[in-house]
Structures are given as C-alpha cells and as structure tokens.
C-alpha cells in the first residue's frame, strides 16, 4: 500500500494535466489551478470521518476493558475503608489466577479484618464453595476456575489430535475428493451455533455416553469437554491447515529429492516447520473452549463442585455468568463478582489470543525468512 500511495500522488498530478482539455469545458478554462494539487475540503473531511469510524473497534475494546472492570471494581473498592494494609497485598491479585493462590498464605491477616459484614470480600473469593444465594453468601471462585479448566482440558486434549491429524491429512495425503468432503464438513461444523451443539450434547450424547461408560451423572465435565471439542476442532483445524500449507515447497521438495516418502516428509519436515502455527492454533482453541458458554451451560450439569473428578458435574466460569446474571440485583456484590469472573475470562482469552497472534505473525515469518 505504501508504494501505491506515492504512486497515487504523482498520478493525481498527471491526471490533472491530462484532464486539461476536459477541464476547460468543465471548469470554464480555469486550468491554472488544476495543475496544482488542490486542497479539497470534502476529501479531507471524508478521510477524517472514515478514520474516526475505523477507530470505533479500538474504542470499543477500551470500553469493554473499562466497563467490565468498572462493574467488578466495587469488590476491591469497598475494601479500602476496612484496612489499608491489606490492599497493598491484594492489589497484585486483581483477576490473576495464580495470584489468588498467593493470597492463601498472606490472606491470613485479611481474614480477621474483613470477616464482618458477610459481603463479598477477597477472602471470600478464594474459598472452595460457590453459594451466592443463601443467608451467608459464599463466593469462592475456586470451584468455578477448576471447573473451567477441567472442561477446557478435556476439550483440548480431545480436539487437538483429531484436528491436527485431519489437517495433516488434508494438507499432505488426501485425494481431491476427500478434501472436497472434509473442507465443507469443517465449515459446517464451524457454522453450527453453539446452542445447537449444546442441545445435541444434552439430548443425544449425554444418554449415549451414560449408557456406554456407565456414568453416575448424566451431565458431567467429560461430556461437556467432548461437546466443547466440536466447537474447538474447526479453529485448530483451520489455523493448522493454513500454516501447514504455508510451509515452503522448497522444503518438501528437498525432502522428496532426498528419497523421503510422503509420510516421512509430513512428519519430519512439514510438521516441524509449521510448529509455531500449530502452537498458535492450540492456544486459540484453548481460548475458545475457556470462553464458550452455551455448550457448557447445557452439557456440564452446572453444579459448583470442587473436585478433580472429571466425571462429576461442573460449573464453569462462563456458565456461572450466563446462568446467574439474569437473576441478580444490579449493583449487588453477587453482580460485581460475576463481572469479576467476566474480567478474568477476558484477561485470560486476551492473553492467549495475543500470544497466538505473535506466533502466527512473527515467528512463522522469521522462521521461513531465515531459510
């Protein structure tokens, strides 16, 4: 585009010289001014307007940050009146997952100072019980965080090998007809609304799984994870396939020339060359799984149990927001804490996407340019 830009300005001048003859008729012989590049107020305004509108995306990202955090902030702000000492320790734990674990050791002091009102204090947040609606509301986030991770782990562990191998198959081995079946299938899978996948998991998969594996609970983390993998597969597949097909032909041809077979080339040359892209694909998949709401809301049973058992019902962070936000009182502690959960989700997926972006854009390029 930069080259184009400089060409355009010189061209504009040429254009105006060329339009000399036409210009005479149109502008009544005022050719002198046509030879200069005129400042056109209309053009200037249009350009500024377009730039401003284009900035909306950026402004919206900032606003999402501001407003999601703003609604979560009273949890931290109400603490300020209690004890200023505690704040210092807890300032660094804003929304961080491993940060909250640190509080367990340093949080002893805050335990005494903040116990009073039964409000959603920070000590409350690191508890293992999520009981927002009761006499003594308990806002322990740990079961929700563990729940999110359990479902995500199952989804990614299941989706990654399938998506990677299918992408490898499409890029390296598949005959043309197989590609023509597989690619639309992926598009269709990606186009399934998540509520449809959730519905299918709830009605069909849950029963089949329970009959097959003999689960104690019909809806559980494992089922939710498998259902979620259906939403994750298209992302991992698409990004992986893209980076596999971008591996330079020189590499594969060199490998073939050395006598390697197709599968040897695929496993030892193409796959390693595309690692940054594959890594990015998995990160994006994790981000998607972590933030997905409808599927987990419908297929995981939504019980906030704090355990490591993958076959028990779980309540994930996203499902908690989805299920409870509609019934909560605006401005209540519960309301603020749901926004806090949203902030954690946002930060987590934001970080994953940013890392993935770096891998896709820079590492991949450098790696290929360095050949």
């Amino acid at each position: 585009m930069n080259a184009l830009g400089s060409v355009e300005t010189s061209e504009n001048r040429q254009t105006e010289i060329n339009s000399h003859n036409i210009g005479e008729k149109k502008y009544g012989g005022n050719t002198r001014s046509l030879l200069r590049k005129r400042f056109r107020i209309g053009e200037f305004l249009v350009e500024k307007f377009i730039t401003v509108v284009a900035l909306i995306s950026f402004v919206m990202i900032i606003l999402i940050f501001v407003f999601v955090f703003r609604e979560a902030s009273p949890i931290f702000l109400s603490k300020e009146q209690d004890a200023s000492m505690v704040i210092e320790e807890e300032q660094e734990t804003y929304g961080e997952i491993d940060g909250t674990l640190r509080v367990t050791t340093s949080g002893k002091s805050s335990l005494e100072t903040s116990g009073g009102e039964g409000k959603g204090t920070l000590k409350n947040l690191i508890g293992t019980t999520w009981q927002p609606i009761s006499e003594q509301p308990k806002y322990g986030l740990l079961p929700l965080i563990v729940g999110s991770f359990k479902v995500t782990i199952v989804a990614v562990l299941f989706a990654t090998p399938i998506a990677l191998l299918a992408a490898l198959f499409t890029a390296m081995f598949a005959p043309k007809w197989a590609k023509e079946v597989l690619k639309p299938s992926i598009e269709i899978l990606a186009g399934f609304p998540s509520v449809v996948i959730g519905f299918f998991a709830l009605i069909v998969m849950a029963t089949v799984f329970q009959n097959f594996f003999g689960f104690e609970y019909r809806l559980n983390a494992f089922l939710g994870g498998i259902a979620l993998s259906l939403a994750v597969i298209p992302i991992i597949f698409t990004v992986t396939e893209d980076s596999l097909s971008r591996v330079p032909k020189v590499l594969t041809e060199a490998s073939f020339a050395l006598g390697a077979t197709k599968w040897q080339t695929a496993i030892f040359v193409v796959f390693p060359a595309a690692t940054p892209g594959i890594f990015a694909a998995i990160l994006l998949g994790i981000g998607r799984a972590f933030g997905e709401t409808m599927i987990v809301m419908m297929a995981t049973g939504n019980a906030a149990i704090f355990s490591v058992n993958f076959f028990e019902p779980v309540r994930t962070m996203s499902a908690t927001i989805g299920a409870e936000m509609a019934e909560v009182i605006f401005g209540d502690t519960h309301y603020n804490i749901l926004f806090l959960i949203g902030s954690i989700l946002f930060i987590f997926t934001f970080t994953l996407n940013a890392i993935a972006e770096v891998f896709i854009r820079q590492r991949l390029m450098k790696r290929f340019q360095g050949l």
């Binding site: 284009a54 999402i64 390296m172 899978l189």
Partner: protein, 300 residues
C-alpha cells in the same frame, strides 16, 4: 523396509481416521436434528404462537425476534464494518501505527468470549447509556432504556459480529484490481470519488457476504443476549426498540433446560433447532457461494 511401509500406512490411516471422525460427527448431528425435528416442523409451527405454557404451538415470536435482532444489528454494524474495511485497505499506510492498532483491536474483538460481550452490553449499553438516557429524559423515574431490550441486544450483537464484517469486506476490496482504481484516478476522479464510484460498487458482493456471515453468526449466538434483552416468553411481539424479544437460540436453550416438562416438548425443541440450523445453513452457504464468486472474478 516393510516396517517403514507399515508406519507409513498407519500414519496415513490414523490421519484419515481423524478426518473421518469429523465428517461423521457433522453427519450424525445433522441427521439427528433433521430426523428429530422433521415431524414437528410444519407451516403452523412456523407461523403459530406458543400455546399451553409453551408445550404446544409454534415459534413465530422467536423467528420474528431473531429477524428483528439481526436486522437492527446489521443496520448498526454493517456501515461501521464497511467503513473500517475501507480505511484499512484504502487509506491506511502500512508504516503508521493507527492501522496496526485498529487491526489489533479487530483481532481482539474476534477473540473476546461471547459472554463477555453480554457483560459489556449490560454494563455499558444498559447501565451506562440506557440509564443515562432515562435520567436525561425522565429524570430516572421511568425505566425505559435502562433495562434489557432488543436495541441493546442488537448493539451487543453488532459489536460481536463487527470483525466478521470487516474481514470479509476487506478481502473483497483487496480483490479489486489496482488498474480499476488507477483508471478512475487517471480520469481525474478524486480518491473519495474513486472509492464511491469504483471500489464500493465492486465490493458490493463482499459487503453482502460480510453481512450474511454476520447475520448467520448473530442468529446463532445466545450468550450475548442472555441478559441484554431475550425473554423466556412474551404474549405479544415487540413493537418498540425498548421491548424485550424472543429468540430462536434462546428458545432452544430455555425449552431444553428450564421447561417444566422437558420430555413433552422434545418435538418443539428439535424443530426449533432444525429451523435455526436451516437458517444458519442457508446463510452460510450463500456466503460461501458469493465468496467463491469474488475469488473467481478477482483472478480474471
């Protein structure tokens, strides 16, 4: 030697199997939903209202709400998306920082979980803008805009689908040959004239594709509207922007999880899912077709 062949075959075999699993999963889901919903699906179902505490009757209010949602969403999102794409492809120079920031913002928007958009809709549109409007007009006595309604749900959805529009419009604009623009500039047209008379008409298909994909995405997402405007059941259709609405995806969710008698309404659930699936399918396939057409013309 035979071991090598064995490994080779198993590598190909396993990867082909993975591909097969995906295709089968798609087939099974589609067949199950078509078979499950076909018998209930009828003309009366499409144009009827829910009856007997939603255990019988049709889903017309949900279809109507979904259409209203995506129309308002498109009115809000399509112009912004198109203009952003024009900026990125026509005005932005690669060196300056602004387009990079915007591109980063678009990518980030695409990665934000749908439920966070819902929270934003609640915190920004309803609580901040809506309550602000109420305070301005009625002094905060009457609650009109400061509560979930179809306008704020559509706005939230427009934000969610913005990246979809931007990406496909930009792709279409980039597919326009440079010669077209240069010919226009050579005839003395200004940059904006060129964009208005040459670039935009040629990228019409792209804008349409972007719009369709956005609508398909918007019709399928439920999480952002859970608490920004969707309603469980409404006796009448929304007739103002400050009304709540019923929506297909939300209807599926509600009927299959919160309904008093889940088993009895299974047919309605399946048929609603089938309608939603048919809707998104038709949209997606027309988008794929249009995109294919764009790519074909751009190679000429």
């Amino acid at each position: 030697m035979t071991r090598k062949i064995l490994i080779g075959n198993s590598v190909i075999g396993i990867s082909a199997m993975s591909a097969l699993i995906i295709v089968l999963a798609v087939l099974i889901i589609m067949v199950d939903i078509v078979v499950g919903g076909w018998s209930t699906l009828s003309w009366e179902f499409l144009i009827g209202e829910p009856k007997e505490g939603m255990t019988e009757g049709g889903i017309f209010p949900a279809i109507f709400g979904t259409f209203l949602l995506v129309i308002i969403m498109s009115i809000a999102g399509l112009p912004v998306g198109t203009i952003t794409a024009i900026y990125l492809s026509e005005y932005a120079s690669q060196q300056s920082i602004l387009p990079r920031i915007i591109r980063f913002a678009v990518n980030t928007l695409a990665g934000v979980p749908a439920i966070v958009f819902g929270l934003f809709g609640l915190g920004f549109f309803i609580q901040f803008v809506g309550n602000g409007l109420d305070k301005l007009f009625t002094g905060g006595i009457e609650l009109k805009w400061g509560q979930p309604n179809i306008l704020w749900a559509s706005m939230t959805m427009a934000l969610l689908t913005l990246p979809v529009v931007i990406v496909s419009v930009e792709e279409a604009i980039r597919a326009i040959p440079r010669e077209q623009r240069e010919a226009s500039l050579a005839l003395g047209a200004t940059k904006w004239q060129t964009i208005w008379k040459v670039v935009l008409p040629h990228s019409f298909t792209g804008i349409l594709t972007g719009g369709i994909l956005a609508v398909s995405r918007g019709a399928g997402e439920v999480a952002p509207i859970l608490f920004t405007g969707a309603a469980y059941f409404l006796p009448k259709l929304p007739n103002s922007l400050s009304d709540q609405f019923m929506e297909l995806g939300y209807h599926i969710y509600i009927m299959s999880t919160q309904s008093p008698d889940v088993e009895a309404t299974r047919g309605i659930q399946y048929a609603t899912t089938l309608v939603l699936l048919l809707l998104t399918f038709t949209l997606n396939f027309s988008a794929i077709f249009l995109r294919y057409k764009i790519r074909k013309t751009s190679t000429l």
